[in-house]
Amino acid sequence: MQALDELISASPVFGGMQEKHLKLIADCGRPVEVDADKYLFHAAGVADTFWLIRTGTIALELHGAGRGAVVIETLHDGEVVGWSWLFAPYRLQFDGRATEPCSLVAFDAARLRAKCDEDHELGYQLMQRFASYMAVALMATRMQLLDVYGDARAVR
């Protein structure tokens, strides 16, 4: 199997980081496989893990009483899943369900947080990349909220 740090450096989120930092991150990772329709994580669970998708699709879902499940985004190859691990109280916001067999890298969030506390340069680099990733996700969410397909009637 491809070395973890090569895998990580090829992803858009971690691309361009220094080798020593990639090694620290890879050190916290391990490969994981999930079958189709199985849940990778559940809302309200502890965010002690985040993932990088190698292949496959993870659907972020929320259940509401009487509403059933609503899928708010599907994440694909090369995308990172989860940022709740960065901020206390480290709680997951959504369910994550594999819509097809998935191959991922799971990262030990607590361990990586500890490494960031020791190595502030690593922490800064990770924060920068995740901040950018979250900004893109926020923009996307705003567009979904705006309902770009809607007409004025929908807004009223």
Binding site: A69, V70, V148, G150
Partner: protein, 284 residues
């Protein structure tokens, strides 16, 4: 060639008279959208280029501008996809096979499909915006070998808002890469969920080789074009289809103005570099 009503009396402007087109078939795409196949009763086929529109009407209920969605290589079958939004479109959407609709046109500047040979072509559509692009897709697929990649990026609010969903597979088999997404869905939806702009990144475009034909609600088009520009596609190579209140279709009534341009004459298809200064002015 303008649709013709036979025997126009003297003193009547022929361009104001709708030609009779009979509904051959009707199918429902979404809860409020229907696709009609029409055939001209006066015997003429409506020659058109992809991106052009007609003014469509039912009896005396008034006209609306609707893009032609049919195959330009089969002009005797006129396709229109209509969303029921007000009195005029409700009257059209209530018609059944055998009923006659009035058609005036075609008019407008077409998608520049004749000038894209050798390029990768991205078709970016939002919601019912796929309707004006269907004729471009069919044109391009009929001449597949002249182009590089052909990629459809299609987004809608929810899965039940997608049009032509049953045709996507056939287009894929003819050489169109198809990426579809919705803003939200239930778990029975097996496809992507997320904003349509994300599809542009996933398509891994070769920006210098890429031309774009984009159509959808104005807000969606602005975001999509913004993403494509960031990916390095040139403003000269992005074409959008604009919309305003259109009435006469012949540059006479003044309603369809957008800044210095008249959409019925200079549009509805515009190069982004030309329309960009005006599209961002609020309430222009």
């Amino acid at each position: 060639m303008l649709a013709q009503y036979a025997d126009i009396p003297a003193g009547v402007s022929a361009a104001t008279v709708p030609a009779p087109f009979e509904v051959v078939s009707k199918c429902q795409d979404t809860p409020d959208t229907y696709t009609f196949e029409l055939r001209g009763r006066s015997g003429h086929a409506l020659q058109f280029l992809p991106g052009q529109c007609t003014m469509l009407s039912r009896g005396g209920s008034g006209e609306v501008p609707i893009s032609i969605s049919g195959d330009p290589d089969e002009p005797e079958r006129l396709w229109h996809t209509v969303r029921s939004l007000g009195l005029r479109t409700a009257a059209i959407c209530a018609s059944e096979p055998g009923d006659v609709l009035g058609v005036r046109g075609p008019w407008g500047q077409p998608w520049p499909v004749e000038y894209l040979e050798g390029s990768d072509v991205v078709i970016a559509a939002g919601g019912i915006g796929l309707a004006p692009l269907r004729s471009a897709i069919l044109w391009l697929l009929a001449r597949r070998q002249r182009y590089g990649r052909l990629v459809l990026l299609y987004g809608a609010r929810t899965p039940d808002q997608l049009v032509y969903a049953d045709q996507l597979r056939a287009w894929q088999e003819r050489g169109l890469e198809v990426l579809v997404t919705v803003d939200s869905a239930g778990p029975e939806w097996l496809g992507n969920v997320g904003v349509v702009t994300k599809l542009a990144r996933r398509a891994a475009l070769d920006a210098p080789r890429t031309a774009v034909l984009c159509c959808g609600p104005e807000v969606m088009m602005r975001f999509m074009v913004d993403t494509l520009l960031r990916l390095g596609v040139g403003t000269e190579r992005i074409h959008v289809s604009m919309e305003r209140n259109m009435q006469c279709g012949i540059g006479h009534c003044g309603h369809c103005q957008l800044g210095p341009t008249l959409i019925c004459k200079d549009g509805p298809v515009y190069r982004w570099s030309k329309i960009q200064p005006w599209i961002n002015v609020k309430e222009l």
